[in-house]
Symmetry: C2
Subunit: 326 residues, 2 copies
C-alpha cells in the first residue's frame, strides 16, 4: 500500500514537472537595434511607441507560427513590421549616409538547407527583407548589391519606392547628432523544427557611401542552421564581420558543445567587449532555447513562445526597463 | 659501454629527426582558381604560361617573407602578380557579367588583430586587392561596394583605370561559353608568426549585375586568425557563403581540435561536395602546416616555404600534373 502511494506520487511528479528537454512548439525572438539607451533619453510616449511596435512585430510573426507556418515566413513578417515603422533604423526609418542618402542592407537564411539571400546598398526597395528573400528563392546568387539588387527586386515584383519615402525628419536630424547604430532582426523556430533568421538595416548614421556592414553578411550578422541555432545581430557591424559573430556562436555550439547562452556570452562579452565591439544578438536554438545577449546599455527586444511567454524590453537593467510580460 | 652507445644513438636520432613541432620560418601558398581542368584542355604553351605566372607570384611573395617582411605584404604581392595577368579571373583578366561589364571583388585579413578590408562590385580599380587593403588600414569600415569603394580608392591613391583596361578578348569570348569560376588568392605565415589571407576575383562569368560572391565576405572566401589559420577560397561562391567555409575551417581547428588538413577535408569534401559545392581552398596554420584542398579536377596552385619547398601544379591527379618542384 505504501508503495502504491509512493508510485502514484512519483507519477504525479513526473507528469507535472516541466520537461526541460521538450521543445516548445514555436519561439520567435526579435530585436530593433542595440546601443546606448537610458531611461532618461525616452519620454513615456516614445517608450510606449517602441514597445507597442515591438509587440506588433511579435504578434505578426506569432500569427504565422501559431498556425504551423514556417519560421522563414515568421521572421519576414516580424522584420517587415519594423521596416515599415519610422522608429527603427531599417526600411522606412533608415538613417542617412554621409552624403544624405539611405542605403539599406538585409539578409535572410533558412536553417533547413542553409539557403540564404542578401541585398546591400539598396536605395529604392521599400522592404529590403522581401528583396533578400527573393534573392534566396528566385536567383542563383546569395548576395546582390546596389543597382543590380534593385533591378532584380523590381523584376521580381518587390515594391519599389522613391528614395524620398525613406526621408524622415527625425532621422535626418540625427545625421547631425551622435553616431547611432541600429538594425532590426528576427529569429524563429517553427513547429516543424526549422530555424530561420532575418536582419535588416539602414546602416550607420554618417557612414561612407558604399559601406556594407554585418547585416547582409551571412555568418556575421545573420545565420541559421537547423543543427544549431538561428542568430540575428545588431551593433558596430565592422566588429561583427571581423569576429564572424553569428557563425561563431553556431560553431561554439556544434564543435565545442557550448549551450546557446554560453556561446552567445562567450562571443558578445568574451570576444567583442574587450575590443569595444558594441552590440548584441538574438538567437534561438533547435531545442527552443533562446537568448537576447548584448553588451550595451540597451537593446529593443522581444520574445514570444508557444508556452505563453510574451515580453518586450528596452534597457539592460530590468528594474529600469518598462518590461511588459503577458 | 653499451648504454653509452645507446645514449649516443638516441641523441643522434633526436638531433636528426625533423621536428614536427618546429615552425618553418615562413610559408606562402597561392591559388589561381579551381574548376574543371583537364590536361587535354591545355596546350603545352598555355600550361607553361600558367605555371610560370604562378612561380612569379610565389617569388614575389617569397621576396617579402625571406627578408622578414609581413605576411600581409606577401599575400598582397602574390595576389597583385595574378591580378596583373590576363590568365586569371581577377584584375586584368576578370570575366564579364551578364551585361558585359567587369565587376571585381577582393578582401584581405590580418590574422594578428583580425582587421580586415574588402571591396565589391568595383569596375575601375586596377588592383582591387590594394583597395581592400586601403579599406582595412585607412577607413573605419570593413567593406565598401561599387561607387563608394571606387571613390574611396581614388581618394587614397589607388590606381584607377578605364574599364577598357579589363577588356580581354579571350575572356570576352568566354562570356559566350561555359560558366567558368575562378579567383586568385594567397595565404602566408611570416617569420614573426603572423598569418594573413588575400583573395581577389572577377566573379562568375555571366553573373547578374551586382552579384557578390564569397571572395569579399570575411569568413566565407577570406579569413585569417593567428590562433588558427589563414584561408583563401575559390569555387562556386554561393556555396562558400552559405557554408561560411573559411571561418568554418578555423572553427573546426579551434573548437574541435582538428588539424588544418582534417578541417579542410571535412569542409571541402564532407560538407561542400555532397551538395555539389565545387571549389577549393588554400590555407596555412600558425605552425606552418599548409594545405591545398579542392573537390574539382584542378586548381591552379603553388607553395613556397623557408625549408626550400617550392612547387606549382594544376591538375588533381599528380601524375597528370606538370608539377614543378624545386
Amino acid at each position: 500500500m505504501k508503495y502504491l502511494f509512493f508510485g502514484i506520487a512519483l507519477f504525479l511528479i513526473a507528469a507535472c514537472s516541466p520537461e526541460k528537454s521538450q521543445r516548445p512548439d514555436y519561439v520567435l525572438v526579435i530585436h530593433g537595434g542595440a546601443g546606448v539607451m537610458n531611461p532618461k533619453d525616452f519620454t513615456p510616449e516614445l517608450e510606449k511607441a517602441y514597445l507597442d511596435k515591438l509587440q506588433e512585430a511579435l504578434d505578426s510573426g506569432k500569427a504565422v507560427l501559431k498556425t504551423g507556418g514556417a519560421a522563414l515566413d515568421a521572421v519576414v513578417a516580424a522584420v517587415k513590421v519594423m521596416e515599415d515603422s519610422p522608429l527603427f533604423n531599417a526600411g522606412k526609418g533608415s538613417v542617412f549616409s554621409e552624403t544624405g542618402e539611405n542605403e539599406m542592407d538585409a539578409a535572410i537564411m533558412n536553417g533547413k538547407d542553409l539557403s540564404a539571400g542578401a541585398v546591400a546598398g539598396v536605395r529604392t526597395i521599400k522592404n529590403p527583407i522581401l528583396a533578400a528573400r527573393k534573392v534566396m528563392e528566385e536567383s542563383k546568387h546569395v548576395m546582390l548589391v546596389r543597382d543590380g539588387a534593385e533591378k532584380f527586386a523590381m523584376e521580381h515584383g518587390v515594391e519599389i519606392v522613391d528614395p524620398s519615402y525613406f526621408f524622415d525628419q527625425k532621422r535626418y536630424d540625427a545625421l547631425l547628432k551622435a553616431q547611432k547604430h541600429g538594425t532590426v532582426g528576427a529569429v524563429a523556430l517553427d513547429k516543424s523544427g526549422n530555424l530561420a533568421a532575418a536582419t535588416s538595416t539602414g546602416g550607420m548614421t554618417n557612414k561612407m557611401t558604399g559601406r556594407v556592414g554585418d547585416t547582409p553578411i551571412i555568418g556575421a550578422g545573420t545565420y541559421a542552421n537547423n543543427n544549431t541555432c538561428a542568430v540575428s545581430a545588431t551593433g558596430h557591424g565592422e566588429f561583427f564581420i571581423r569576429y564572424t559573430v553569428a557563425h561563431d556562436i553556431s560553431a561554439l555550439m556544434e564543435y565545442k558543445g557550448l549551450t546557446l547562452e554560453e556561446a552567445a556570452t562567450e562571443v558578445i562579452f568574451g570576444k567583442l567587449l574587450p575590443v569595444d565591439g558594441t552590440g548584441g544578438i538574438i538567437a534561438v536554438d533547435k531545442d527552443g532555447n533562446y537568448t537576447m545577449t548584448f553588451n550595451t546599455s540597451g537593446m529593443f527586444r522581444g520574445v514570444v513562445t508557444a508556452d505563453g511567454k510574451r515580453e518586450v524590453a528596452i534597457y539592460k537593467i530590468f528594474s529600469e526597463s518598462p518590461l511588459i510580460s503577458q
